[in-house]
């Protein structure tokens, strides 16, 4: 009961704070708990199921084929954990956070990364009231399915085009991050209208963060490229 009234006070405070802000100050993060109508909430979950199943199978196959890669997989998950916790200010006067899933997508492919994203989203939804269980499907789709697919596709295309690995990693991670939030904008715009407005707000806020994510992913990749080239070749990253 007491808990309940606290959360009401918090809600009022948040509303008051928002009234004083321009629309540009809306934060660009995951879709909050309960903010998607039921049909959409369950619809997105259904869309995610095959990707999650494919993800588990993909991880099992990859670990079987190269057991040494297990420790790198753990690191990719941990990397997404760190980056999702970093709320960074952006030029729109609000804060958002990177997703950190680009690294996993480049090293292990998009479906395996879906599982890593799922772990991060569950942690934040259950313990931090950030994102939500009802919006888990939608958030999983944007952050752990679209983002990694974009990152993986961009990396593959640039690698084939002969771009230097570090540059390809940067583009892949940054674009995956950006497209995650473009997807979020569409997910909200489709339901509530005004895709353009959501897009301006979410995508613009995310631009500097996407660049930051690209740079941080290259930092880790540089180390791996130098010291762990054998594993990267085993995963056909290099």
């Amino acid at each position: 009961m007491k808990q309940r009234s606290y959360s009401n006070v918090r809600l009022l405070a948040a509303m008051a704070a928002v009234l004083g802000l321009s629309t540009l100050s809306a934060s660009a993060m995951h879709i909050a708990e309960g903010y998607l109508p039921k049909t959409w909430a369950f619809g997105w979950m259904a869309v995610c199921v095959p990707f999650v199943v494919a993800g588990f199978l993909s991880i099992r196959k990859k670990v079987e084929r190269s057991p040494r890669a297990k420790v790198l997989l753990a690191m990719c998950g941990a990397f997404a954990f760190v980056l999702s916790a970093l709320k960074i200010p952006s030029v729109t006067g609000s804060c958002s956070h990177p997703t950190g899933v680009g690294l996993g997508a480049i090293l292990f492919g998009p479906t395996a990364t879906t599982i890593l994203g799922l772990i991060v989203l569950l942690f934040q939804a259950l313990l931090l009231a950030h994102g939500g269980l009802t919006t888990l499907g939608a958030n999983l789709f944007s952050m752990a399915i679209v983002g990694p697919i974009v990152s993986w596709a961009v990396y593959m295309a640039l690698k084939k085009a002969g771009v230097k690995p570090a540059a390809a990693v940067f583009c892949a991670a940054a674009l995956g991050d950006l497209l995650t939030y473009v997807t979020t904008s569409f997910q909200l715009g489709v339901v509530y209208g005004n895709v353009a407005e959501y897009l301006t707000i979410f995508a613009v806020t995310q631009v500097p963060l996407a660049i930051a994510e690209g740079l941080l992913t290259v930092v880790v990749f540089n180390v791996l490229e130098k010291y762990s080239a054998a594993e990267l070749r085993e995963l056909s990253v290099l």
Binding site: Q3, Y6, A28, Y35, V82, T92, L188, Y192, P208
Partner: protein, 97 residues
């Protein structure tokens, strides 16, 4: 250029990226509550009622920052542990020295 030098420059760039908005829009509130996305929704659909509440919410901003710090700590702990293992000299390397 050595890897650590390259990485130091990259990390410096990230810090600049994060610090620039603080200087560029000094009057902004830098709000980051998830609820704000919800406010936008309420603007376009004032009748919308969230139909589900988070089953657990951090008791205060302090507790929330604890959990976020914990999330970053666990993550960076594992990342650094693995990178430490990866960059460590392997026994066969040491024999060569």
């Amino acid at each position: 250029m050595k890897v650590w030098q390259k990485n130091l420059i990259l990390i410096g760039l990230v810090i600049l990226l994060a610090a620039f908005p603080l200087w560029y829009c000094r009057d902004a509130e830098f709000g980051g509550a998830d609820g704000m996305a919800g406010e936008l929704i309420e603007e376009s659909d004032p009748d919308y009622e969230p139909w589900f509440q988070p089953i657990f919410e951090p008791a205060s901003g302090e507790v929330e920052s604890l959990l976020f710090a914990l999330q970053a700590a666990i993550g960076s702990g594992i990342v650094c542990f693995v990178l430490g293992r990866v960059t460590a000299k392997k026994p066969e390397d040491q024999k060569k020295v």
